[in-house]
């Protein structure tokens, strides 16, 4: 057969749209980073180059605590959510319909269907009672709340990946006398990995982002970066906020890059 004179994988214009998408994604971030180095007190008027806002943020213990707390909550919530979501995704896909399957699907996606403010008020009412009864008012409540709304975000991409992932390979593994665990560990999991990574990242980012639910569930001394910043909206936003964001950005990039490198070496 004659060689096709075009690459079958490309679709005309798609690369251009992708480029445009990346430009959209990065333009605001670029502005944000540039203004973190602004010498003036404004996030809109350029007043020369300076790193003073980094120093200011570094010396602001409230900011440091809040940033660290956001990170801790996001890590715990995203890890737990990804575990639970992976298990649930495996349970609810690739099978003949079984009783309760639709129910489970709806149940798991339920946090997506409720505006945050509703969950927030509902959680305030219930958790504050529980806090009084148990005498425990630590970060656990925030992590629990975050885990719940992170689960569907982790679940959907993992499920999307699983659906239509054919069973042949796993059957082959079973035919070769692999135990179900071996088949899962050696066959299913590696195939599932992109879905799990996407799910984890979504969950992590969603947790890091949350303002409304955190605002209502937090106890004394539990401000996260977003709730700390929400409190600042009324007054004014200084480049200190940009500096914090830039530092956070750099830190996450380093962390995730490290994660990728380690991961790659392994495979």
């Amino acid at each position: 057969m004659a060689r096709r004179h075009f690459e079958i994988r490309t679709q005309p214009g798609f690369g251009l749209v992708a480029l445009f998408t990346f430009a959209i994604l990065y333009l605001p971030i670029a502005v944000l980073v540039v203004y973190a180095f602004n010498a003036s007190e404004s996030v809109t008027v350029w007043g020369g180059f300076s790193v003073k806002w980094f120093a200011e943020a570094w010396n602001n213990s409230a900011v440091q605590d809040a940033a660290w707390r956001s990170l801790v909550i996001a890590v715990f919530a995203a890890v737990i959510a990804t575990f639970a979501a992976t298990m649930a995704a495996i349970a609810t896909t690739r099978t003949a319909p079984y009783p309760g399957q639709g129910f489970q699907y709806a149940f798991i996606n339920q946090p997506l269907m409720v505006p945050e403010i509703v969950t927030a008020v509902a959680l305030l009412i219930v958790f504050s009672r529980l806090k009084v009864w148990t005498g425990y008012s630590g970060l656990g409540w925030l992590i629990l709340a975050h885990t719940a709304f992170c689960i569907p975000f982790a679940y959907l991409p993992i499920r999307a990946r699983l659906e239509g992932m054919d069973l042949t390979l796993e059957r082959a593994a079973a035919d070769l006398y692999a135990t179900p665990w071996q088949a899962f560990r050696r066959v299913t999991l590696p195939l599932l990995r992109p879905g799990i990574i996407a799910g984890f990242m979504l969950a992590f980012v969603i947790s890091l982002d949350d303002v409304v639910i955190t605002e209502f569930v937090k106890s004394g001394g539990q401000d996260t970066l977003p709730t700390y910043m929400l409190g600042q909206i009324r007054r004014t936003v200084t480049p200190e906020v940009n500096a914090i964001a830039t530092a956070f950005l750099a830190l996450s990039i380093i962390l995730v890059t490290g994660f990728f490198l380690i991961n790659r070496r392994k495979t």
Binding site: R129, F216, I233
Partner: protein, 344 residues
């Protein structure tokens, strides 16, 4: 290694019981965001060897809902004047009797017998201010001392106005504009109020909190907003000037109070007394740029604040200012409906 250590510490902090953390020498303040001077806190911590934790809120209602629900762990809260009676009525505040404290003599007489806390049995003034007009003189040079600036805007300001997204402040000014009393339930007057707001809103650019950025930069040419922010705008751009609506404008005062279920009542009382010291009250104002209610604090304030036109109200307009009070529930419901109609 350090990362592991930090993770372990974090894990510990999650499982640590808050009860055990409420040891002596702590104070938990629940205040508006960016409203608490770090210098003031540092000084208090050093003087009394107390560890202070500050948590932020962004609206009176959030704070109220949270404290009412219980299990919050706060000692001190800073409600606005029109909310203090609600807090008292709901039994959330401790009758700490600040009027019997050592430094109470420093409180300006004007702020002692206030309607929301007669004789100051519960609260101590934190900061006070007002909602007024700010205009860019380059764009509009006429009279700015009227609510007409945002209710019947002059042609040059149409489409360049920002109004504070605060139901009570906006309704207050509009009711006063038609000669009504705050908390009125006079339907005929309220109909005029609603129709005026519905008519005026398309002429506004925004209802936003970002005034200190956008007023000096020229995105807005006029605002109905808090005086502290207008002052900050003027410091950034000398063309900005304040106006006091002669028809009537609302004052606000946020006061600190101790919660009934506070764990660190004694430290909270110490803090109450501490901020009535003029030098300390001045720190509060220097940070957030609003006036406090403590006599003699002016001499410790930054020079730019001493006779700022935004803080010293001209005698002719002093009578036009009035405190927002708590309206009856039926009236609030009416006001919410009007507000929803305006914002649909």
């Amino acid at each position: 290694m350090t990362l592991k250590l930090k993770a372990a510490l974090a894990a510990m902090s999650i499982f640590a019981f808050a009860g055990s953390a409420a040891a002596e020498g702590e104070l938990n303040i629940y205040n508006w965001g960016d409203y608490t001077s770090p210098e003031l806190i540092k000084k208090f911590e050093d003087t009394y060897k107390v560890k202070v934790t500050i948590t932020d809120y962004d609206s009176n209602d959030t704070a109220l809902a949270k404290v009412r629900a219980g299990g919050h762990g706060f000692d001190i809260v800073v409600p606005s004047a029109n909310y203090v009676p609600i807090w008292v009525k709901e039994g959330l505040l401790l009758e700490a009797r600040p009027d019997q404290m050592e430094n109470f003599k420093n409180v300006d007489e004007r702020w002692v017998d206030v309607p929301w806390d007669p004789g100051r049995h519960y609260t101590v003034p934190w900061q006070w201010g007002l909602t007024g007009i700010g205009v860019n003189k380059k764009v509009y040079s006429g009279d700015a001392n009227t609510s007409a600036i945002f209710l019947d805007p002059p042609a040059e300001l149409v489409g360049k106005i920002n109004v504070a997204p605060e139901m009570n402040d906006v309704l207050f000014a509009t009711i006063k504009y038609f000669g009504g009393e705050w908390c009125t339930d006079d339907k005929e007057l309220l109909k005029k109020v609603r129709d005026k707001l519905v008519e005026a809103k398309p002429k506004w650019l925004a209802m936003d909190y970002s005034v200190t950025e956008k007023l000096p930069a020229g995105d807005y040419s006029a605002v109905y907003y808090w005086n502290g922010a207008i002052m900050r705008s003027r410091l950034a751009n000398p063309d900005i000037a304040i106006g006091y609506p002669k028809e009537g404008f609302p004052f606000f005062m946020d006061s600190i109070a101790i919660l009934k279920d506070a764990k660190n009542t004694e430290n909270a009382k110490l803090f109450m007394n501490f901020i009535m010291e003029p030098e300390n009250a001045a720190l509060i104002s220097a940070f957030a740029k609003y006036a406090n209610g403590i006599k003699g604090s002016e001499q410790f304030m930054p020079a730019e604040m001493k006779d700022a036109p935004e803080l010293v109200i001209p005698a002719e307009f002093q009578g036009a200012g009035e405190f927002l009070t708590t309206c009856a529930p039926e009236v609030s419901e009416l006001y919410t409906r009007i507000w929803t109609d305006v914002n649909k």
